[in-house]
Subunit: 146 residues, 2 copies
Amino acid sequence: MRITYKGDYALKTILDLALNYNNGVVTIHDLAKRLDIPVKFLEQVLLNLKKGGFVESRRGKIGGYLLAKHPAKIKVGDVVRFVEGYVEPIACIENGYKGCRDLYRCAFRPVWQRVDEATKSVIDSVNFEELVEKARANRRNFVYSI
Amino acid sequence: MRITYKGDYALKTILDLALNYNNGVVTIHDLAKRLDIPVKFLEQVLLNLKKGGFVESRRGKIGGYLLAKHPAKIKVGDVVRFVEGYVEPIACIENGYKGCRDLYRCAFRPVWQRVDEATKSVIDSVNFEELVEKARANRRNFVYSI
DNA sequence: ATAATCTCTATCATATTGATAGAGTATACA
DNA sequence: TGTATACTCTATCAATATGATAGAGATTAT
């Protein structure tokens, strides 16, 4: 797994929408400003997240984006898998991979499998409800420390 | 961490040289044939591994490559770090990274750090002496199972 | 009507990836 | 001393991914 800007932006966007859950829609413009993401890039990220069923949109004058599911129902791993396309540390570990002469005798395979399992156990154990709590706590700490 | 062909080839090359440790040099040609790697690509991989201090070379008529250290002294993590350039799941976790507005308040940071630690604990716990044993065992199993 | 918003597709510059090409240098050995 | 057999070095290439920009739509509250 390697997270690119694409994935980073997607995760931060979903966290922002989770922070605004049950609070109406958020516009691309506001998201872009708060998260420091180029507006036109964020457009594509959001359209993709919509295709993935993570967000919904409202068009028109008071339109914007909102989360399609409860934050507790979205895991970090779900988003990474959908946006980046994979989570595995090497292609030969991916499901349905063909193209290695002797996949099952490979001495490295168990190593990659252990990395893969450890990675997934982390990213699939964190949902956006927890992240919202953590983000709010961090914000409080920050304000108090000034 | 995401292993590309570059890293995969490097690891397999070092394993092959480890299997031939104390057994003279191995030519690029033999390595390329056994490992199914394009010769001219393998050249570059080997020159790089030499720069990294993993292998040594002998030029001339009976030249070839050999491991620069004992297989037990080379960890999978060492090779990946050198060849791929990083091991972290995202750039902001890399040492000396600047460029995030509030790195220490980021709700995702602890997630990436956990992935990072888990990954490193795997790849830094496997050395090429163990891999040689495993590879020899796998080869035996294969022969017996025919 | 119109302003504000999302939608869609095309394009772009740059870097990375995986691979190929060819001329050079060193060494064993007949 | 010639030559075959190796490693050495640098350039180049096609294809793809990455991060970003552009502009013309479609929708909706007021």
